[in-house]
């Protein structure tokens, strides 16, 4: 217990308030906006096909949707691990205090999970019906249940599926933007912290979310293609290159604008901001800007040179990974950096994350691995996620007897 008391106490320099030396929001709150960001980014890619009919993205649009759902399942978990009284978490939903920016979280997240579940169901319904007819054993029952009794696969029914899925996606786009803009608002609306209190915060969060989500899809697409021993689709890769390039450019411009504004306005405490950048968050700052800059340079060169084929795959994969790392570092800089600069503007703290324990790096690693595992299981359950593949019922069956 004694250790617990000093759990997140950060060493400080200058003058801080005594209570501030215990950093309230730890690395779990870094991973939370990161995961919701990946959800939003992946969803946008899936919508490019579903809503705007960009055929280029057709091969990965359903995979992007599934990715979005699997990550969304785990978006609230870091918050649960962080709460002092996790059992009471639903108090915020049962009796929301509406002046709080946080009160809506349960509803926003719940709404979004439902929306994603519905869209996934409508997108995959025909396949589920088919598998409920072709599979045997326990999996047949599972698919039967998943059809929810709706096994009509007539052209008109499929058309209805498609229409509904598209409409859901149309609701989902403002939903995804709202979900992540809202996360930015949680931080930006706090007037106490100079580093957070910015009107640009929701936009920065939203745009970097899309950037990191695209990065994730690139990484996942390349890895899964390699895993499935299938070539990557050139059209998809080109499309992802364009989206990633646009993402990096817009994110970097907006983030730079925010920094310049803060420095140019030079309100009380701007020296503290300089000290923060040169001190506790120096390395993540280098990662954030270095990662984004490298991604920008690589993608720009590829755009100019019209790179195709294996080179495109390799360098786009690298850029996607860099973007993911850069955005993760940006989340750290915002969440942890904001707390490392004292409310007095005259002191700095240095946060050292715990490795083991409830709020620790191990927890973060576990919570961040979970969506990938879920995604693996989900694509086992819905093997038609790769649209270009014909269904091979006997080969790809997820059969409990075989698994054992």
């Amino acid at each position: 217990m004694e250790k617990d008391v000093f759990y997140h106490v950060a060493p400080f320099t200058g003058f801080t308030f005594p209570n501030e030396t215990e950093v309230p929001w730890s690395e779990l709150i870094v991973i939370y906006p990161y995961i919701t960001g990946l959800v939003a980014g992946a969803f946008v890619i899936s919508s490019l096909h579903h809503v705007f009919g960009m055929e280029r993205f057709a091969p990965i649009s359903r995979f992007a949707l599934l990715t979005s759902l699997c990550f969304m399942f785990f978006a609230p978990t870091p918050l649960l691990f962080h709460l002092g009284q996790p059992v009471r978490a639903l108090n915020a939903v049962i009796t929301p205090h509406w002046t709080s920016a946080m009160a809506a979280f349960g509803y926003v997240a719940g709404f979004y999970v439902c929306l994603l579940l519905l869209e996934v169901w409508f997108s995959f319904r025909a396949d589920i019906v088919k598998m409920s007819q072709t599979r045997t054993g326990i999996m047949q029952k599972v698919y039967k249940v998943m059809t929810l009794g709706s096994d009509d696969v007539s052209p008109s029914a499929l058309h209805a599926d498609h229409t509904i899925a598209r409409r859901l996606a149309m609701i989902g786009i403002p939903g995804a933007c709202g979900l992540h803009g809202y996360v930015g608002f949680l931080f930006g609306s706090l007037k106490t912290r100079e580093w957070w209190s910015s009107d640009l915060m929701p936009i920065i969060f939203l745009l970097s979310a899309i950037g990191s989500g695209v990065g994730l899809l690139i990484v996942l697409y390349v890895i899964t293609s390699w895993w499935r021993k299938k070539p990557t689709n050139g059209g998809v890769m080109e499309g992802l290159l364009y989206v990633l390039w646009s993402g990096v450019v817009i994110v970097m411009v907006i983030e730079a604008l925010e920094m310049v504004q803060m420095i140019y306005k030079a309100r009380e405490g701007v020296e503290g901001v300089f000290a923060l950048i040169q001190g506790p968050i120096q390395i993540p700052m280098v990662l954030q800007w270095g990662g984004s800059l490298l991604a920008l340079v690589i993608t720009s060169v590829m755009m100019l040179a019209g790179t195709r084929g294996k080179k495109l795959v390799f360098w786009l994969f690298t850029s996607g990974l860099l973007m993911m790392i850069g955005v993760l570092a940006m989340r750290w800089n915002v969440v942890i950096g904001g707390q490392e600069l004292s409310k007095t503007m005259r002191g700095l703290m240095t946060f050292h994350p715990e490795v083991y324990g409830r709020e620790s790096l191990v927890t973060v690693a576990t919570l961040f691995t979970a969506p990938f595992v879920t995604l693996y299981l989900a694509q086992k359950l819905l093997p038609t996620v790769w649209e270009e593949e014909p269904i091979e019922p006997e080969e790809r069956v997820f059969d409990i007897h075989k698994a054992i």
Binding site: M1, E2, D4, V5, F6, Y7, V9, F12, F15, T16, F17, P18, N19, E20, T21, E22, P24, W25, L79, H82, L83, G84, Q85, P86, R88, A89, N91, A92, T95, P96, H97, T99, S100, A101, M102, A103, F105, L186, L190, K191, T192, R193, Q339, K343, T344, M345, R346
Partner: protein, 307 residues
């Protein structure tokens, strides 16, 4: 006589009884302050094992007692919160930095004993010769922890001895006591997602520790650093001006033990209360007025450096 009339009469009777007790309390306050400080010291030095580890006062509420208090909160009869508007004054010119207030508060309210959690604290500001900025320290500076107490007892160290600090002359040193400002527009209440923290009609901002989920959004939102997380309870923690005491006509523990009269407490609805007189007779200020929180702790004699 109608039922309502009877009710009014009963309340009036209760009020006069309480006023009488209040008067008694005022008279006893001076004596109480000395006795309180003395007993606090004596007990703190007792050296018994403390649940939070190390040496600490023996009479601080333990977990079981706290659980019991939450389960069966004491009923406060005859207290009408619409008839009070509590306010707090800090006469910074009088503070000597003895930190009896911090100690008394930690004992009275079962605050975590370490230097990183506190409901009230005192800051020390020092101007060195020729400088326009101060050096500031408080109880979380390890040098201000009494050695051997495992961070449970505090005393400002003597770093400005002989008016010198690192070869420079010390021009001026002063202390400022800090505590929750019980703001009129509290940002902590605004951001609480469950409504577990709320503004009482009589002024203080209270926390329902049975309902708080421990998200610490309020800790982030408080501009004054008044809030922290109580790890033992898993809920937010902050000063409530000893609400359990003031509703019984007593003074907050820190006011009670303050030997110099730095801390002043009272009812704004009573023009003759110490705090009303303090605000009326002095040029007072509040902390960080630009935040728009409208604090209810009024300061006399604070410097531009006080944040």
């Amino acid at each position: 006589m109608t039922t309502q009339d009877m009710k009014i009469e009963k309340e009036a009777g209760d009020l006069s009884r309480r006023d009488f007790l209040g008067l008694l309390g005022k008279g006893a306050a001076c004596a109480g302050a000395l006795v309180g400080a003395g007993s606090a010291l004596a007990s703190a030095g007792g050296g018994a094992a403390h649940p939070l580890g190390g040496v600490g006062p023996t009479f601080q509420q333990d977990d079981a007692q706290y659980a019991e208090a939450v389960k069966n909160p004491p009923k406060i009869p005859n207290y009408n919160w619409t008839q009070h508007k509590w306010a707090f004054g800090v006469d910074a010119d009088k503070c000597i930095g003895c930190l009896r207030c911090v100690e008394a508060c930690k004992m009275e309210n079962s605050v975590q004993m370490d230097r990183n959690h506190t409901r009230t604290w005192v800051e020390r500001y020092a101007y060195l010769e020729g400088s326009n900025h101060t050096l500031v320290d408080s109880i979380h500076d390890i040098k201000n922890v009494i050695p051997g107490t495992e961070e449970t007892r505090f005393k400002f160290d003597n770093r400005y001895k002989d008016g010198q600090y690192e070869g420079k002359k010390v021009e001026r040193v002063f202390f400022v006591a800090k505590l929750c400002n019980q703001c009129e527009k509290p940002s902590c209440v605004q951001v609480c997602p469950t409504g577990a923290t709320y503004k009482a009609v009589d002024g203080p901002v209270l926390i329902d520790t049975k309902y708080c989920i421990g998200c610490q959004y309020c800790v982030q939102a408080c501009p004054y650093g008044a809030r922290s997380l109580n790890h033992v309870r898993g809920t937010a923690e902050k000063c409530n001006w000893c609400y359990h005491r003031i509703t019984k006509g007593m003074q907050p523990a820190c006011v009670e033990v303050c030997p110099t009269g730095t801390r002043i407490f009272g009812d704004r609805l009573d023009p003759e209360s110490p705090v009303s007189q303090f605000i009326r007779n002095n040029k007072v200020n509040v902390l960080q007025p630009a935040m728009g929180n409208y604090p209810n702790v009024f300061y006399k004699g604070i410097d531009k450096e006080v944040f």
